[in-house]
Amino acid sequence: MANNNIGPKRLVVGAHYGLKDWLAQRITAIVMAVYTIVLLLAFLTGSNFSYDGWAGLFAQQWFKMMTFVVFVALFYHAWVGVRDIWMDYVKSVSVRLALQVATILWLIACAGWAVQILWRV
């Protein structure tokens, strides 16, 4: 296939804009939905509603990793959704760009916080 991404013949229109984010939003949603069900099952089948029971669940490495993946999915999902909101309602390009940058920085910061919470248990 010819390289259409450079020079005067660069592809500037097409049906692919947004497809990646649309798909990412669906996939991250499924990841979070599955995790919700796992967490609910763990909660409903567990009888130890104390700190030991709760922290014990998060102390397991597989649960930490799964929770981390879900957090990353959550932040990507939130980025797509919040970006849609800024694009729909904020007409000024400069304000919109500022809000989008702030959203990304904020979500990255939250990802760092989530890692700190998870790996401190």
Binding site: R26, A29, A33, Y51, W54, G81, V82, C110
Partner: protein, 140 residues
């Protein structure tokens, strides 16, 4: 004749604009539209309260003493209301999201089916939210 056509086109061309914010209260949204805007509002609400959610998770996991703090904090009625609002947001967002995924597979796209599924989304998420409320405020 061509001039007459031009004049009509200039003066009588209808303009379609989005409704103004002040008209929102009088606008009767179809149920599918209600589910849609609630999907957006619940998503934004959870995004804005993200630091609160992470804070609660942090307090509940860090140590036994912070867990005790978490228990006391979440026993207040205002915090319980916030948690209930977050729970309903999550439940609605979840159900409306599943509806989206089903519609992505070209199921239930026509007007009647979309209305029916929007009723299901509202009903299921509200019933589950009521269960959460009863649990939160100690009915069982």
């Amino acid at each position: 004749m061509s001039e007459a056509v031009k004049e009509v086109a200039k003066s009588d061309r209808p303009q379609f604009r989005n409704i103004h914010v002040t008209q929102l209260a009088n606008y009767r949204l179809p149920l599918a539209g209600l589910v849609s805007i609630l999907h957006r509002i619940s998503g934004l609400f959870m995004f804005l309260l993200l630091p609160f959610i992470l804070f609660l998770l942090d307090r509940s996991l860090t140590s036994e003493s912070t867990f005790e703090y978490f228990r006391i904090l979440t026993s207040g009625w205002f915090i319980k209301l916030v948690i209930l609002a977050l729970s309903w947001s999550y439940l609605h967002h979840f159900c409306a999201g599943v509806r989206h995924l089903v519609m992505d597979m070209h199921i239930g796209l026509d007007k009647d089916a979309a209305r029916q599924s929007s009723v299901v989304v509202l009903a299921v998420s509200l019933v589950l939210a009521v269960l959460v409320a009863l649990k939160l405020f100690g009915a069982f």
